[in-house]
């Protein structure tokens, strides 16, 4: 304002229009490249590492309050937990004997079938750092990344079953797409009859869909879907969802099953990332991961 008379003389650098043009062009280039390819991931990781301390810093009061809350509730929580545990122990004792019996029998059957014995999966426990405010996707950011051995493609589970899949990692954080995100697809199996299917994140928010069923497929409401282990990312036998209803369209000859996930990513803050070996899937999974992470 004060420089009204001396605009030309003291104006520094390029004009505002030129700057606007360059920056807008840069933004558009970033948008297009980031939506199609993964080449910007190193830049994203670098920025993410820089802002990580600030994220932890501003979220520290929340974590502190949560910890303080936990501490004050500890006594009553311990009492109720003790009662629950006592009850559970009695129930589990019965189940344990039963399970031991079944496991022995199962092992024998497996040997008979010459099925490779399932190895116990190494895993890492993670905590939700924050939920990104993004209208397009259902993602969660966890507080551990490549330094803890997390890689894109690894499945995330909670005590209910599969929660989602890691889609992007930085050194200290990782980003998971939830089951209900429409970019995620999981090979599943109907527990009742072993029917192999693929579940997709639903168009209806909070639901999982099984599409491309033939109209006479043997699936009905109440069926439990578990991972089939086909495809390599998700180990077999994890709970995924329970079928709500099946829509059979006589006209097209196809059916669609809508299911509710059995995991509850909105309720707790701790999850388990299964360290499956994603290295050999990397070449296959890179393309699909790109389309997942890009949006």
């Amino acid at each position: 304002m004060q420089e009204h008379g001396t605009i030309r003389l003291f104006k520094r650098g390029p004009t505002a229009e030129f700057r606007l043009f360059v920056l807008v062009l840069l933004s558009l280039a970033l948008l297009v490249v980031d939506s199609r390819w993964n080449v910007l991931n190193p830049a994203r990781q670098a920025i993410s590492v820089v802002i990580y301390p600030f994220q932890r810093f501003v979220l520290a009061p929340r974590d502190f309050v949560a910890r303080f809350d936990n501490w004050t509730d500890a006594a009553s929580l311990a009492r109720t937990e003790k009662e629950a545990l006592q009850r559970q122990r009695i129930e589990l004792a019965q189940i344990a004997t039963h399970a031991a019996q079944l496991s022995a029998e199962n092992q024998q059957l497996r040997r008979l079938l010459k099925v490779a014995e399932t190895v116990s999966q190494p895993s890492v426990a993670v905590e939700v750092l924050y939920e990104p405010p993004n209208a397009f996707s259902h993602h969660l950011i966890f507080n551990k990344g490549t330094t803890s051995g997390i890689r894109p493609g690894m499945p995330v589970i909670d005590e209910g079953g599969v929660v989602g899949q890691i889609v992007r990692v930085t050194p200290f954080t990782s980003e998971a797409a939830l089951l209900t995100d429409e970019k995620v697809s999981i090979p599943v199996q109907v527990l009742r009859n072993g029917l192999r299917l693929i579940a997709f994140g639903g168009n209806v928010s909070g639901k999982v869909e099984v599409r491309y069923l033939t109209a006479d497929a043997d699936i009905r409401s109440g069926d439990t879907l578990i991972t089939s282990g086909i495809g390599g990312y998700f180990p077999a036998g994890l709970l995924v969802a329970k079928v709500d209803h099946v829509e059979r369209d006589a006209g097209s000859g196809f059916a669609l099953a809508v299911a509710s996930p059995l995991s509850h990513p909105e309720r707790y803050r701790h999850f388990l990332v299964l360290k499956v070996d994603v290295s050999k899937q990397q070449s296959v999974g890179a393309g699909t991961d790109g389309s997942k992470t890009g949006r």
Binding site: A16, L20, L23, V24, L28, L30, F54, P133
Partner: protein, 189 residues
């Protein structure tokens, strides 16, 4: 309004301010760099918190950037807006460039309007900034929708309205140090 000389002899202008004509007193002295960058940094930190999950939540960072673009166009401009936009893109885990585009466009609007608007009061400034914010956000959302192949709804319009509605508040808070110094309301040009 009674203007009295302030016993702040550090800057010559304030001791002589009562000698100047009424119009001239409306010219503000520049805000301190600490205030500008401090307020931007603080708002950026605030923006990392989860309250932005509410879809119509106002974009406080954009508000503060635009405010300084308008009032201190020599120090804060499109480049600052672009860099902060990128930081928000990484934090939100969205497409890189989405926020950057919206912030850059809005900052351009503020920078070009700066000469026209500096003498107006905060409400008029807010009214002028409304189309700027709406156009910038719309451009970003349309391009995002085109690239991602999905439309996130119109909640961002509420966000833009709320952002602009908070402009007078930003005006009061961010120019507080100057008002305290010379007790002249610079908004009443």
């Amino acid at each position: 309004m009674v203007r009295k000389p302030v016993d702040n002899t550090a800057s010559g202008r304030s001791t002589l301010s009562f000698l100047l004509s009424l119009e001239a007193t409306a010219i503000r002295r520049p805000s301190s760099g600490k205030m500008i960058w401090g307020s931007i940094f603080f708002t950026w930190l605030i923006s990392l918190l989860p309250w932005r999950l509410w879809p119509p939540a106002p974009d406080l960072l954009l508000l503060v950037i635009l405010f300084w673009c308008l009032n201190e166009p020599r120090r804060v401009g499109m480049f600052t807006a672009f860099v902060l936009g990128l930081l928000m893109d990484v934090h939100d885990a969205g497409l890189l460039g989405g926020h950057a585009l919206a912030y850059t466009l809005a900052a351009y609007g503020a920078v070009t309007l700066t000469r026209r608007l500096q003498r107006f009061n905060a409400v008029v400034q807010a009214l002028h900034m409304l189309p700027v914010v709406l156009v910038a956000e719309a451009a970003s959302h349309f391009i995002h929708a085109w690239l991602a192949g999905e439309w996130a709804g119109w909640q961002w319009v509420w966000s833009a309205l709320l952002t602009v509605a908070l402009w007078p508040l930003a005006d009061i808070l961010l120019l507080l140090p100057q008002r305290r110094l010379d007790e002249v309301d610079p908004g009443q040009g």
